[in-house]
Structures are given as structure tokens and as C-alpha cells.
């Protein structure tokens, strides 16, 4: 934890989630998280921490506190009902020979 000049514990920097787009046409993907005092510095830090090896062409940073996440406790109720509904996958169609790139 950072210390203020009088030696007491300063308020820690807030946490930010970092999303990186690897290249044009792909979506931003969660890359990790970091601490920063504000959004601009969060972007700079993200650039230094997550794109040092040319991993990206675009970065989003989002305050972690702003993310509403599904709870692991609700995992069954949230995700299991989709488990036996194979008809939601588009696998029951005959694909005509003329249709390319499907």
C-alpha cells in the first residue's frame, strides 16, 4: 500500500479492469486488472503492462467497481438450463453446396 509522506497508509489506488483488442475486427478481450489513480493513468499503465509485446491496437479500461458480475453461487441457475437445449445450436440445417464460407 502506498504511504503518504507522514508515513501513514494513503488510500490505495482504485482497481481497473483492462480490455485489449488484439487487432482490427476482433473484440476487446479481458486482459487483466491494475491499480491507477484515474482513468488516464489507468490507460497508460495498461499500455505498459498489457501491450508491451504488441498484443493490441486498442485498450479499454473500466473501473472494477462498475462491473456487475454474475455470482458463482448462481452458476447452476444461470447456466445449467442451457445445457440440454442443443437445438439452440445451428446444427440442424442442411447447408446447400452453393453456400460458401459458412
Amino acid at each position: 500500500m502506498p504511504l503518504s509522506p507522514d508515513g501513514s497508509a494513503a488510500a490505495p489506488w482504485p482497481l481497473w479492469e483492462v480490455f485489449v483488442r488484439p487487432k482490427r475486427g476482433l473484440s476487446h478481450t479481458h486482459a487483466g486488472s491494475l491499480h491507477a489513480p484515474d482513468a488516464t493513468i489507468a490507460l497508460q499503465n495498461a499500455r505498459d503492462l498489457f501491450t508491451r509485446r504488441q498484443e493490441g491496437v486498442s485498450i479499454w479500461v473500466v473501473p472494477s467497481a462498475q462491473i456487475t458480475a454474475s455470482s458463482p453461487d448462481e452458476k447452476d441457475a444461470f447456466f445449467d438450463p442451457a445445457g440440454d437445449k442443443v437445438y439452440r445450436h445451428p446444427t440442424f440445417y442442411e447447408i446447400p453446396d452453393e453456400a460458401e464460407h459458412l
Binding site: P2, P5, W13, L34, H35, A36, P37, D38, T40, I41, Q44, N45, R47, D48, L49, R52
Partner: protein, 254 residues
Amino acid sequence: MSGTALDSAVACYVLALGDDALVCAQRLCEWATRAPAIEEDVALMNIALDLLGQARSLLAYAGELEGSGRREDELAYLRDERDFRNCQLVELDNGDFATTMARQLLFSAYQFELYGALSSSTDERLSGVAAKAVKEVAYHREHAAGWVVRLGDGTRESHARMAAALGTVWPFAGELFEPAAPAELVAAGVAAEAPSLQGPWLSWVTSILSAATLDIPTVTWAPSGGRHGLHTEAFGYLLAEMQHLHRSYPGATW
């Protein structure tokens, strides 16, 4: 100038630019594991690595132009204090974080103008290095500016420390704009005309200081001499740390 004399003049100029980058990189490395936060630690080391990369290209080129067979390692590790041509600004002690950021603001802003001008140097090797480096230092400049503004326009404590830091490093900026190359090199389009960089430099730095609610310090003295091998007391200690491994174990490799 004859061909050899010209090469020698360019070598001297390139060496000074390389020494600036090398010494600044070495100073920044002292922050490793000591920065205010781990994110900032990585940021400073990235900047140091960029500068080290510039130094390598420039010192290697200077060695070739010299024709004495000295490579980048010999130039970095086996020269003594009086043979280094870096400006005194980059060798100043890191001080507190504010001092390091003030120094970086002035230096990166200078490098930005310098490499911008050298991108169109008639020396292709130099213009190549500069064109790549100008993007790197554009980021260094923004990084430093971000902290100077936040600390300057922050709390009473951070403002006081940022103002003091600026006062410490500011007089050393004057040396950056002294002619660093013979007039022939400037006329031939090889070297940048250092005094002409000061206007745009000052204009940008002033805009940042204004956002940071900081005043330009009153200059009471004008230290100089780095380009002629005259350095501050702090420099010998920096060289001792930077060079001792290579001098103790010549040719050591990982």
C-alpha cells in the same frame, strides 16, 4: 570538411545523443522495485528500456563512424567520466519521484523536438533511429506530463514538492539548447540546430506547467559543460555502478 573529419564530427554528435539516452536509462533503472506502485515501476522500466535501445543504436553507429573498432559495449562501459558527452540534466540524482518526473518532462520534451527534427536528417542512419525513437519519446513526454500535472495540481504537499523539483532541474535545461554540433553539420542537414528547438520545447512545457499550476522557475545560474566532458559530482557514482560489472569481468555474458 574532408570525409574523415566529417565522420569524426558526426561520431562526436551521435555519441552525445547516445550518452544522453544511456545515462537517462541508467538513472531511471534505479527506480526498479522502488517506484510508488508496481504499475509505475513497469512504466519507468519500459521508458528506460526504450532509452537503452536508442543508446545502443546511437553508440554502435558512433563507434562505426570513429573507425577505431570500439563497439557499443566498449563505449558504454570503458570510457571515463571526462569522455562522456551527455548533458548534465540526465545525470542528476533521482531525488524524490517529483524530481525524477520533472527531469523526465524537460528531457523527453527536448528529445521529442530533437528526434522530430532528426527524422529528416540527411544522414540516413540517424534519421532512421530518430523516426523510430520519436514515437517512443512522445509517450515518455506524455507519461511525465501526466504526473507533473497531477502532482502540481494535487495536494498542498505534492504541489510544494513538484515546484521544488522543478526548481532543482530547470537550470540544467539550458544546456540542451546549446549548439551540440559544428555549424557545418547543421548546414549539411545532418545535425539538428539545437537553439531552434527551444521555442517549441518551451511552448509545450509551459502548457503543461500551466495545467499543473506551476510557475516557470527563475533561473539564477546556468550549469553547462556536459557536451565537453564536464560533469556533476553525481556522475562518477552513476558510472561506477553502471560500469563495475563489465570492468570486473570483461566480456561477461548472461
